[in-house]
Subunit: 346 residues, 4 copies
C-alpha cells in the first residue's frame, strides 16, 4: 500500500491497551500510519513512541486534534475523559476509535452520539471480543441459521482474579466494568435487543469488594425481543484462569465455544489425564481480536462503511448494566424501557 | 447370597419403567427376589412376568400388599395412584420404592410422609439421576471440597423431543414433569436448600404445547441458602439428542459433566471433524443409574439404613416446581417460604 | 422366549472369564439356558454355580459333553486344554465358544479346525474386542467407505501393569499373549489379510520379564494385502491405565477411537484441567463386548448362521505372532507365507 | 531497543517463506533491522521490499554479502543454492539462517559445516516446527521427566494435498522433502539419536506421483540409541487438512499434541456433533513458530549463544532420509552407520 493511501492516526492514552493498539497500528496493520501519541504521563507516551518508532509525542490530545494531517484518533485515555475527547475529535473532523464505555451517564452518551452524528465522522467502540474467532463463529452460526432459531444463550465470563479494590471502588460496579462486555456479546450473538434483565449477585471472593459497595459474583438472566432467554455467569476469580465460554441453543442444534489454551497437549499420568490451564491473561486471550477490530476500523474509514461496533452498540450495554444494578437492588426483573423512561424523565 | 437373605419384592405397574426395574431385580441384582408383579393391564403384567420368569401375576396391588412374604414394593403405577399405594404399602409394613413424584399436592405429600414415618418403613423416591456416574462424581467433588465452596451451578437438561400433547395436558406442566429432576439434581449437587426461584419460559417448539397450557422451553434461576446461584436450562426438544450436562463453579475450580455417547470415535472428513450423536433415549443414558438406585434401595433394607433419596427429597422439588410456576405467572422471584405459607394457610 | 427355544449350554472353566460368561448367560441373555458348569477346581465351580443359581456342577467336561440335552459349550479352561476340548465337543456334536487362542501350534490348530468342520458344529473364538462399540464403529466406517480406502492403521494397546513373571514365563510371549488381540483387531478393522510383519521390542518395564525370555514393550509394523500399513504399539504398563485406542486413516478421512472413562467430568483447578483416569481393568473396559460376543454366539446357533469370529480368525493371529517373534529375532520383515511354509515343511 | 543494537540483516530469496520472514523481521521483531532483500526474480524482491518498506533491493546475494554493515543473512533461495550461499556468507563473516535442507549430498553438507565452523559464524536451520507451542510442550515434558523415560514415539504428519508433480520430480523424494521435518522432530522430542530406520511406503494418492518415482504415503519405524522406538506416519493428502500430531509414551505417562483449529467451537446438530476442520495451511498452522525461530536466531547473535537448530541438526535428518530410502528399496532395516560408511567410502 502506498504511503498516501494509508490512514493517518493519533493515539490518545498510552496505558496497557493504548500500547497494544500502538504496536498493532505500527507493526501489524499496513493500512495505518500512526503519526503521534500522547498521554497525561509524558514518560509513558515517550516510551511508547520510542518502542514503536513514532516520531511525535504530542503535548496533549488537543495538539493531536489540531493536526490537519491526522484523519483518525484512537482513544485509550481514562473512561471519564472519553466523552469530552470523542466530542472534541468529532468536532475536529476526526474519525474515532474509543475504548468502552463512552460514559456511564446515558444523557451524556446521547449528547456524544449526537455530536458524532452531526459531525459525520465514524465512531467505533472497543468491544474487541466481537472479533474473536470463537465468538465470530458462533455469530455466524446464528446469523446463517446453522442452529436454527436461537432459544437459549449461555455466557460464562470469569476473570482469573479481581482487580485492586481501589480500582473497583471507582469502576462503576461489576455490571458496568465487567459484565458490559457480556451484555455486548449477548446482543451481538443473538442479533436481537434485550428487553428485560433479572440480575442477582453476591460477594463470594473477597469481603473487601463488598465493603467497596460492589459484587464479585453475578448471574444475570436476559430476555430478548425475539424470545431468546440468556444467562450470563460472572465471577471475579476463576482459579484456573480466564474463563470465556459461550453456548447458543436453537431449534436446529447448539454451538458452544470453549476456552483457548496455550497448547493442545494432553498428559496422562498416574493421577489423571490433564492439560495446561487456559490462557490466563485477557491480552493473550484476545490478542488477535484487538488486532482485528482495529483492522476493521481502518477498513471502515477507507471504504466509508459503517464501523462494526457503533455508538448504539456503546449505549445499549450501559442501559443493561443499569437495569442489572436496579434488579439486584430491588430483586425483581427490570425492563430496559424503565431505565429509558428514567432518562427521559430525569 | 443364600435365598433366605434375599429381599422379597412385588412390583406394581409394568409400564416402561416397571419392566426395566423388573429386569434389574430379576437378572442383575442378586440381593432381590422378585415374587410378583401386577398392572391394571393384565396382559402387560403377564408379558413382564413371562419375560422375567416371575411365577406370580397378582390381580392388583392389594393382593401384593396382603402377601406376608413380601417385604418391599416397587411402585411404577400412574402418578395419581402413588400416594394411595404408598400409604397402603406402609400400613401393610412394606418398604416402598416409588417413582417420582409422590403427588403434586403438598398437603397430600405431607400426609403420605406422615403415614410412612409412623409405619417405620423405608421410602425411596426414584430420582435415578443422582446415581449416574457423572453426577455422582460432581457431587463428590463438591462434597469433598475439590472445587472449594460452590458459587455457581449450571444444569442443562433437554429432551430429544416432546411427549405427545395429550401427555403434556395431564402432566402437571414442565416444572413438575421435567424440571423436577433438575430441581432434585440442584439440591443433591450443592447440598444446600433452595430458598428462592425465578423462572421464565416460553413456547418455542410447538404451539400445541402452548395451547395445552404448558411451556416447552424454560430457564430457571435458583438461589440456595448457602449463597450459590443456580441456573437450569430446559427444552423439550434438542435435535441432537438427550442433553444432560452440569457444571459447578467454586472457589477452587469448576467441574463439568458432558453428555454420554455411544462410542468415543471421532471422524475427520472433508467437511469437518465430528462424532456420533449423544445417547438419545433416557433409558439408554441412565441404564446404570436405574440399576444403582435399586441396588441401594435393597442395601438400605438389608442394613436398615436410610434410603439415599428420602421423602423430604420427594417433597422439596414439588415446592420448587410450584414456586417456578408462580414465578412465571407473575414474572417475579418467588421464595419457597411463600409456597409453604400457602400450604399452611390453605 | 419360551423355555424350549433357549439354547442349552455347559460352561467349562470357572476362572475369571468363565464366571463372567456364567453371569451373562444366566442373568443377561434370555436366549441362554446355562445348565451345568465344571472346573478342575471343584470349589470354584460350586461357588460359580451357587452365585448364578445353576443346579448342576459337573465332575468334568466329559460329563457335560455326554449330556444329550446340552447344545453348546463355553470353553474357558487353561489354554493348553482348548484343542482337546474343542475336538471332543465337536465330536459330541456341541457348538463351541472358546476363549483365545485355540493353540499355539499351527498344525494342531489345523487339526482342530478340521475336526470342527467335519462335525458341522459352530466354533466361535473369544476375540471379544471386535464387539466393543468403539471398534465396531471404526469397522463400520471402514466397511461402509466413510473414510474411503484405508491407507494407514494405528493401534495402541497398553496394559495397566504386567502380569506376574510366572505367568509371563508360560504365556508364549507378548505376541501370542497380548498382541494377539491386536493382530485380530487389525484384520477385523481393515478387512484384508496381513502379508508381512516387522516387529521390534525391548524390555523397558521390568528386567525380570527379559530374564523370563520375553519383551514388555513392542512396536509392530504390518503390511496388508490391500496396501494398508498398520502399526501396533504395545506396552505391559501404562501408569494411567488401560490404553486401547485405534485410528484408521483413509482416502476420505480418518476415524479414531479414544479410551473409555468412568465418567465424562472435567475438573478445572489451579493446577490444570483434567479428568479421572480411563477405565483401568479390561473386564470393566470390555464388559459390554463380552456380553455382546456371547449374544451373537447364541444368535448364530439359533439362526444357523456363521459365528462372527471363525476358526480362520483364530488361526491368523497365531501366524502373525510367530512372524513377529521371528522378525524380532532376526531383525527383518517376515512374510506370513514364510511361517506357513514352515508349517507345511515342518 | 536503540537502533544501533539491532541486528542488521539481508534476506536472500523472496518466495513464500522469504516474504514471511521479511514481514516478521520488519514488523514483529524489534531486534531486527532488515536492510536489503534480493531474489533472482527482481519483481518479487521489489514487491517484497515495497510491502515491508525496505529501502534496498540488491542485485544478487553477492551484493548483500559484500555489505559490511550487514551482520546476518536469511537464506530462502532454492535448495540447490543453499550450500554455496551458506559458504559464501560464512566466508564473508555473516551469520546465517537457512531454510532446510542445506543439501542432500552428505559430503557437501560436511564441507559447508566445516566452512561455517572455520568462519566462526552462527548457522541456524529452519526447522521451525521445533518452536511450535505444542511440540515445545512435549519436548519440555520429556526433558523434565514429566512422562518418565520415553518408550514409544508416534508422529503423524500429513499434508492437506500433494504438491504439483513437477515439484515432486525434483524434490528428492518424500523422505527428503516431507519426512525430513519429522525426522528432525523425532530427534528433537526424544533427545537421543536415531540408530536404525525401517521404512515402508506406497503410492495411494496419485499414480502420477509413483510415475515420478516417488511415494505419497509412508510409515517409518525408528530405533533410538536410548531404546525408544518411534513411528512416523506420512501422507501427502489428508482430506480434512493439515494433520500434525505427536504422542510420546513413557514410564510415567504419555503426552499427546492434537491439531490446531481456527476456533474452539463445537456444533451439535441433528446429524452429529462436530467442529470445523483443523488449520489447513502450514503457514497458518506454524505462523508463530516461524516468528519464534527467527526471534531465537536474533537472540543467539545478540548473546553469542548457540543457535537452537545447529548444523548437526541439519545433517542428521538427511542421513535418516537416505536410510529410509534404502530401507524401502531393499525392504530391510537400515542402520544410519551404514549410510555414514558409504559417505566415508564414497
Amino acid at each position: 500500500m502506498s504511503t498516501q493511501s494509508r490512514i493517518t492516526l493519533g493515539l490518545i492514552g498510552t496505558g496497557r491497551i493504548g500500547r497494544l493498539h500502538a504496536e498493532h497500528l505500527r507493526f501489524r496493520l499496513s493500512a495505518a500510519d500512526l503519526r503521534a501519541v500522547t498521554d497525561l504521563n509524558r514518560d509513558s507516551a515517550q516510551a511508547c513512541a520510542d518502542r514503536c518508532g513514532i516520531v511525535r509525542v504530542a503535548a496533549d490530545h488537543h495538539e493531536i486534534l489540531a493536526d490537519p494531517e491526522i484523519q483518525a484518533v484512537v482513544v485509550c485515555s481514562p473512561t471519564d475523559t472519553h466523552a469530552d475527547i470523542i466530542e472534541a475529535a468529532a468536532e475536529a473532523g476526526k474519525h474515532v476509535f474509543c475504548e468502552k464505555p463512552i460514559e456511564v451517564s446515558l444523557p451524556r452518551i446521547d449528547r456524544v452520539l449526537s455530536v458524532v452524528e452531526h459531525a459525520g465522522v465514524l465512531l467505533q467502540i472497543g468491544f474487541n471480543r466481537r472479533f474473536d474467532a470463537n465468538f465470530r463463529r458462533i455469530r455466524q452460526a446464528v446469523a446463517e441459521g446453522e442452529i436454527g432459531t436461537p432459544h437459549q444463550l449461555h455466557i460464562i465470563s470469569r476473570d482469573p482474579g479481581p482487580p485492586p479494590v481501589e480500582y473497583i471502588r471507582q469502576s462503576g460496579g461489576i455490571f458496568l466494568d465487567m459484565t458490559i462486555h457480556d451484555f455486548d456479546m449477548a446482543r451481538f450473538l443473538i442479533g436481537s435487543e434485550v428487553e428485560e434483565v433479572y440480575a442477582t449477585g453476591g460477594v463470594r471472593i473477597d469481603p473487601a469488594i463488598g465493603e467497596a459497595g460492589d459484587l464479585d459474583t453475578a448471574t444475570i438472566l436476559l430476555k430478548f425481543a425475539d424470545g431468546t432467554v440468556g444467562i450470563i455467569e460472572n465471577s471475579r476469580k476463576a482459579v484456573y484462569g480466564y474463563d470465556q465460554r459461550v453456548e447458543v441453543f436453537g431449534s436446529k442444534g447448539s454451538i458452544e465455544a470453549g476456552n483457548n489454551y496455550p497448547n493442545t497437549c494432553r498428559i496422562a499420568g498416574a493421577e489423571g489425564v490433564g492439560r495446561d490451564l487456559p490462557l490466563n491473561f485477557f491480552m493473550d486471550r484476545y490478542t488477535q481480536s484487538y488486532l482485528d477490530e482495529m483492522a476493521q476500523f481502518l477498513e471502515a474509514i477507507v471504504t466509508g462503511g459503517r464501523p462494526p461496533v457503533s455508538g448504539v452498540d456503546a449505549r445499549a450495554p450501559v442501559v443493561m448494566a443499569m437495569a442489572a444494578r436496579l434488579s439486584v437492588q430491588e430483586n425483581r426483573p427490570v425492563k430496559l424501557a424503565e431505565i429509558e423512561a428514567q432518562v427521559v424523565s430525569g
